[in-house]
């Protein structure tokens, strides 16, 4: 029996379950000098917005124990430039692309979803309803069931059935399961867990918050247990809802943890900053671990930590 590493992420068929994380892979070009983008499951783009954005002022980054804070603020060229430049380039280079979209209004999500129809190489849509960097804390769609639902419904109405819709959730809520239920009912084909956690570092020399924006999103190995818990909880309650897991994955063992918790595929973000070929390392190590542990396929291992054990 040959081992099958193929992944099915809410209907997106991928040769392996290793993806980049949104906002952590540039436009794809930057990483392509280190490996072929077609070698990983898919490239998840930075969150695309309708208009160009300068992002936040600097400093917008602070290293923290086993992690980092960022307040990039969704810097990007806007959807027109993205569709004209990034998408054709990714397709020409053999990448499977999952486009991440982010809006400031429900209508933004509708407009962006409509523009994602019939794009070369695009295999899915990640809907970022959870970025904590936006100025108005009230704007975090995924923190409230009603706004989370409204954003996903807008996307669903405009592209539902054409591309898998994956709702990316924020862990900064008391009941992430409730939000997952809500977006699933609204028509999301899967969920991405988790986005960054809101944090702060104070520079004790300047005696001021280190980031110009004061707060930023925490990522990296420091948040991994929070992410694994979120994946496990959602899987336990909604076993049919496919999960893209992420948060601090740096090696194959970490990725295996997410698969065992119930993720169908995983994204690698911060680890790429420390190691440009982190995704390739995770891919090869995870494949080896799964085979060592006697799994015939990736799918057999998904959610394996939920099994009943005899006392």
């Amino acid at each position: 029996m040959t081992f099958s590493f193929a992944a099915d992420l809410a209907g997106a068929k991928l040769p392996n379950p290793i993806l980049t994380a949104s906002g952590c892979a540039g436009s794809g070009k930057e990483l392509s000098q280190f490996f072929k983008l077609s070698e990983i499951g898919a490239v998840v783009t930075k969150s695309i917005m309708i208009k160009p954005r300068s992002g936040r002022a600097t400093p917008r980054m602070a290293e923290t124990p086993s992690g980092m804070l960022n307040s990039i603020g969704l810097q990007g060229p806007g959807v027109d430039y993205f569709l004209e430049n990034d998408i054709p380039w990714l397709a020409a280079n053999g990448a499977r692309t999952i486009v991440s979209i982010a809006g400031e209004t429900v209508e933004d999500y509708a407009v962006l979803a409509r523009r994602m129809r019939n794009l070369p190489g695009v295999v899915g849509l990640e809907v970022n309803i959870s970025c904590p960097n936006v100025e108005n804390r009230g704007m975090v769609f995924s923190c409230h069931p009603e706004t989370a639902r409204a954003a996903i419904e807008a996307v669903r109405r405009n592209i539902g059935g054409e591309l898998p819709i994956i709702a990316k959730l924020s862990p900064d809520v008391t009941d992430i399961l409730g939000i997952a239920r809500e977006v699933s009912n609204a028509g999301a084909d899967g969920v991405a867990l988790i986005n960054t956690l809101l944090g702060m570092v104070i520079d004790t020399n300047l005696m001021l918050p280190k980031l110009a924006q004061k707060t930023g999103g925490l990522s990296g190995p420091a948040i991994r247990p929070v992410a694994v818990r979120a994946v496990y909880q959602v899987r336990a309650a909604l076993p049919q809802l496919p999960i893209l897991g992420m948060g601090g994955i740096t090696n194959g063992r970490d990725a295996f943890e997410f698969i065992l918790a119930g993720a169908s595929a995983v994204s690698i973000g911060t680890a790429t900053f420390g190691n440009p070929t982190a995704v390739i390392k995770v891919r090869d190590e995870l494949s080896a671990i799964l085979q060592e542990r006697g799994f015939d396929s990736l799918s057999d291992a998904i959610g394996f930590a939920h099994r009943e054990v005899q006392a």
């Binding site: 892979a25 600097t58 917008r60 290293e63 110009a212 420390g274």
Partner: protein
Amino acid sequence: MISTRAAQINAELISNKRVGSYHHMVFSVGDIASQAKPGNFVAISVGGESSSMVLRRAFAIYRSTERGVNGGLVELVVAPQGQGSRWLTSLEAHDVVDMVLPLGTHFGIPTEPVRALLVGGGYGSAPLFGLAELLKSRGCRVDMVLGASTAAKIYAPLEGKRSVSSLTLTTDDGTAGIAGQITDVLPKLIEENEIEIVYSCGPMGMLQAITAVTDRYQIMHQCAVEEAMACGIGVCMTCVLPVTGDDGVTRMLRSCIDGPVMDGSRVVWDSKRKIPEGTFGA
């Protein structure tokens, strides 16, 4: 511009010597050394396999040699000022690090011989010596001024001075050279040596002050900026600064890809903690 020359390699430490407040470190990097140009930098992962430091550390290349006894070499000048650089400077010969190089833009070399002034602040002087050699080999006259808070923080190795016609030192505390700051002596050096281009590397405040002088004299200023970097390869967007393009539009550019070497007169200085008004997408 995204570099297509960069590679991720295991680099062996050949030697590690303390020089004043800094460490002079030589790494064996193989053939890729031939791709490195003055102004380029390397990004090194720090702390070893189980490190809690998740971000790469960027260091300007002090010098690169295509062929030594140990093959291609790159030399770095490292200030042990943070946890990561302290880890790096504690390594010993034959230790191996994960290095990505060469990264970023390099100093532009004029096609005609010119009169150049090289200005370095602290360990920022590192990439200027290789640049001085290159300029001299192209027939340029090279003058240099190095400044720091105190004598131990000036990096000016003997062999580095061979290519320069004059070397001026300044220290804030007067322990070496002229007491004062680099910008105190710049106008005189520019006038006396009829300088046509200034190359610089050092803290952002210093680069800004130099730009004010070069703008006044209407001479080119190529500076290597020092923004905090998390990846060094253009994927994290943390290292940005506002730069005005040929079209008059100011954009937040990545200093690891569109820099570190930039045209000083195009950088919108004084942008810490705020996005300048009118910036693209603001």
